[in-house]
């Protein structure tokens, strides 16, 4: 199989399959899931009521809800939220990064120092501090993580723009008298696309893992919304009874991250190859 004119490796194909399955689950949750995420269909950890034909794949949970259905609905929350966060952090990071690279001078210095400062602390710790005051409402979560995460996008896009701006073909365009916007749109952006898309994948998996970790610690998405991180938290005591319940949502988190990473790895490899050949 080929994509964008490049051979797709087996791992990349696996990764894409995982991503597609997750997307389908997230979008089509109400049609795919046998029960609603909040519907109580039987006793805690028991069997569902007899009038349902469907056999629960993973059993019922601590409140008697269907685990499999909750897992499907969880995809919605976890993936949707991470996607919004990543888009936001990209919007912030790319704008500031390109601005810093193009304007240089004090704007660049100020933005770079600010980012250094934000990165002087582990992201999780910084998030804790903000959440301790502002609480864990969804908008707070989204904006906090997006801003913290945008620091990395800022660094990448600034470096990319600076490297590209130093290339002679960009110089040619400037010497021709082209405007700044034209130079960015026609000469810089098309050549920065591949690393930026790969970075989007990486940032997505980071935001995804981050929000799952917060939920797992009880500081993320709050009930009754199903999301994978808080599902692990809800079911964690069952592990001592040799139950597999917490491993399903935790495994789902790992699977999607692995899938994204496989695709990102492939994209980075074709990018470096096409640049190595010159």
């Amino acid at each position: 199989m080929r994509l964008f004119g490049h051979r797709v490796t087996i791992l990349a194909m696996l990764g894409m399959a995982v991503i597609i399955i997750n997307l389908v689950a997230a979008i089509g949750a109400p049609w795919i899931a046998p029960w609603d995420q909040a519907e109580i269909v039987g006793d805690a950890w028991g069997d569902p009521d007899a009038d349902h034909v469907y056999v629960p794949l993973m059993g019922l949970d601590n409140l008697g809800r269907d685990l499999f259905s909750r897992l499907i609905y969880g995809a919605r929350m976890s993936i949707g939220l991470s996607f919004i966060i990543t888009c936001l952090s990209f919007a912030i990071g790319i704008t500031t990064g390109f601005t810093a690279a193009v304007l240089k001078g004090w704007v660049d210095t100020a933005l770079s120092r600010l980012v250094d400062l934000l990165l002087s602390m582990p992201t999780l710790i910084f998030a804790f501090i903000i959440l301790s005051v502002l609480g864990t409402e969804l908008p707070v979560l989204i904006v906090t993580i997006a801003i913290l995460d945008s620091t990395k996008v800022f660094r990448l896009s600034r470096a990319l723009a600076m490297n590209l701006a130093a290339l002679e073909y960009v110089e040619v365009a400037r010497v021709r008298g082209e405007g700044l916007w034209w130079v960015i749109r026609k000469e810089i952006l098309p050549n920065a696309m591949a690393p930026l898309i790969a970075e989007f994948g990486l940032r997505f998996s980071f935001a995804f893992l981050f929000i799952a970790a917060l939920s797992f610690l009880g500081l993320g998405i709050q009930p009754p919304d199903a999301d994978w991180g808080s599902m692990v938290r809800d079911y964690r005591d069952m592990i001592n009874l040799d139950s597999t319940a917490p491993l399903y949502p935790a495994g789902a988190i790992a699977l999607l991250t692995i899938g994204v990473n496989f695709v990102v790895d492939w994209m980075l490899a074709i990018h470096s190859r096409s640049h190595g050949d010159g």
Binding site: L11, D116, L117, L118, S120, M121, P122, T123, L124, I125, F126, F128, I129, I130, L131, S132, V133, L134, G135, S205, L209, A212, A213, F216, L217, G218, L219, V232, R236, I239, N240, L241, D242, T244, P246, L247, A250, G251, I253, A254, T257, I258, V260, N261, F262, D265
Partner: protein
Amino acid sequence: MSTLIIKHKETARLRPLLRLILQRLGLGFGTLLAASLLIFVGTEILPGDLASAVLQNSATPESLAEMRKELGLDRPAYVRYAEWLGNVAVGDFGHSLASHRDVVEEITPRLKNTVFLAVYAALLAVPLAIVLGLMAAIWQGGIYDRLVNFVTLLTISVPEYLVGYILIKYLSVRYAWFPSLANVTPDTPFGDRLVLTFLPVLTLTLVVVAHMMRMTRASVLNIMASPYIEMAFLKGLPKWQVVVRHAFPNALAPIINVIALNLAYLIVGVVVVEAVFVYPGLGQLMVDAVSKHDVPVVQAAGLIFAAAFILLNMTADILAIVSNPRLRHPR
């Protein structure tokens, strides 16, 4: 007399290096100060002010005003920051809003536990990662390398709690080799501690080793591709000598960097792993404090984590400077 002159010359030659190191130390200290400001700003000036955070839903305008006064929030922010920083400098982090105990008292035993866990994990993970990474680099492209690459690509994306619960399910619940709860107390003897914390340490190790060895491998391979390595082979040196004499001294700086970077990552991992194994560490304390809006504890714990993070990064910078021959032997 002559030796004195030589010594003087020697220090003169080293001066740029010394200056760079002092610069880094200063920068590290400055960053710490900035981080403290950031923590203060984050907890005290953000729109949701501390008083309303503490009182939550029971807040009435009167009680809020009273609470503000009690917490000293009616005074200007920079005064409060200076006061807080001054107190922190002499080891006074104030009192917990939840337990009303002295924060230092509350934190000390927790911090000890966390340091124990982190150091234990680092001692296991660092040598393991370097040896595995070097092996992968030496047998680059071989079956071992490919296998290791695949496994690390898998584990790199796996969250700590999945690893933790898998370990608990199999090593603790099913086979009962290790305890699933790392419930240490201050009186737990050292030997018991090692056993009790083995599963959390193993979890941390597994997660960190993948990162660390992947980066070790990459930096060694990067060095191995340099022309002077080819030259060493063309001088007829056996492979192990090329690696030990020519590649290793140059790979040292990037490897040190990798270690520091991953130890900093370990700090975050600790928080999650402590939650999985219900380990009474600083991370757990901080998570509890966050959900209870216990700001003084959050500030103190945040500052400690930030300090550790900054210290590690600074150490990496300084070691990288020291191991750079261009800086050690200026023109």
